[in-house]
Symmetry: C2
Subunit: 154 residues, 2 copies
DNA sequence: CCGCATTGGTCAATCTGATTGACTATCGCG
DNA sequence: CGCGATAGTCAATCAGATTGACCAATGCGG
């Protein structure tokens, strides 16, 4: 597989880049003693940082069915990362909020994100990295500037 | 989920970009009448374009176990996209090559890749897109310039 | 202020793509 | 020749997601 071809498909590059980041993140998390963190957790933690998340919110963030999102949240509760929050106005919504444990994980995740950013900046230059991030953001964002679900539901 | 945050994690952007491309590719393939194409097929078709692929080759390309790679190739044979090629020197390797059907699919895939490239070029500019591709390639490639597996096996 | 479609969420069964584990056959080297 | 390394397969299992059926709270039109 001599890969000297100059313009590999974007999809392949994105797939490789994504896996590399996610694998590296989880490798570093394990080194720090986090052993039961699944790939999707990072997204959820970020989303839950400032306000409780709901199942429907996760559906919109991740682009999975509500059943899958519900299970994911349950798993994070089992792991002690999330806890059910007190119901608000609407008694149908059952919000989840970060537990202390979850907040500690979030802290490490954010720290590692920064490490990985620095790693990438070292590889291609900080300026190029920010350019890349901005272009990528512009390319995938909707007209309102909002990021779509990780996997949009058609 | 008001996502006006300026610097989303790279991993999220890559995940979104990847899914967007892959989903779009398969949507367009279905429009053209291809109904049983799985996400991994594209990578395999490209790899098999110029020379037969082997199970081990797929393992290195995709970063899955050889069992999974073997099944994937079998599925593509069932779909009529690959066929077993005549064994070469080494009787252990059982190469797969593109069938005519597979070559037709590859043709459509390449055409759609070009369409999607054009779409992205329209979004952020052709120059920026090439910059992005080059930077990304540089960031993920090994020192020899070879692209790693989609999902490296640690 | 009541009826009913909509919305948020769960339970259960199933599927798919992958994994781990055990195995066979061929190769190539000392 | 003998033996470790390499290419591949078979079988069982798993994890994360899906489809389908369902319940409870909401809120809007008449």
């Amino acid at each position: 597989m001599s890969d000297a071809d100059g313009r590999p498909p974007l999809a392949r590059l994105f797939a490789i880049a994504y896996r590399q980041l996610v694998d590296d993140l989880h490798r570093r998390l394990r080194q720090r003693g986090w052993h039961d963190v699944r790939p999707a957790y990072g997204f959820v933690l970020l989303a839950a940082r400032d306000a409780p998340v709901t199942v429907t919110g996760l559906v919109e963030l991740l682009g999975m069915t509500k059943q899958a999102a519900s299970k994911l949240a349950d798993a994070m509760v089992s792991g002690g990362y999330l806890q059910r929050g007190g119901a608000g106005e609407d008694a149908r919504v059952r919000p989840f909020e970060l537990s202390d444990h979850g907040r500690r994980l979030l802290h490490d995740v954010e720290q590692i994100y920064a490490e990985l950013d620095a790693l990438w900046a070292a590889r291609i230059g900080a300026d190029r990295l920010e350019q890349l991030r901005a272009d990528l953001r512009a390319a995938v964002a909707g007209p309102d500037g909002a990021l779509p679900a990780v996997r949009p539901l058609w």
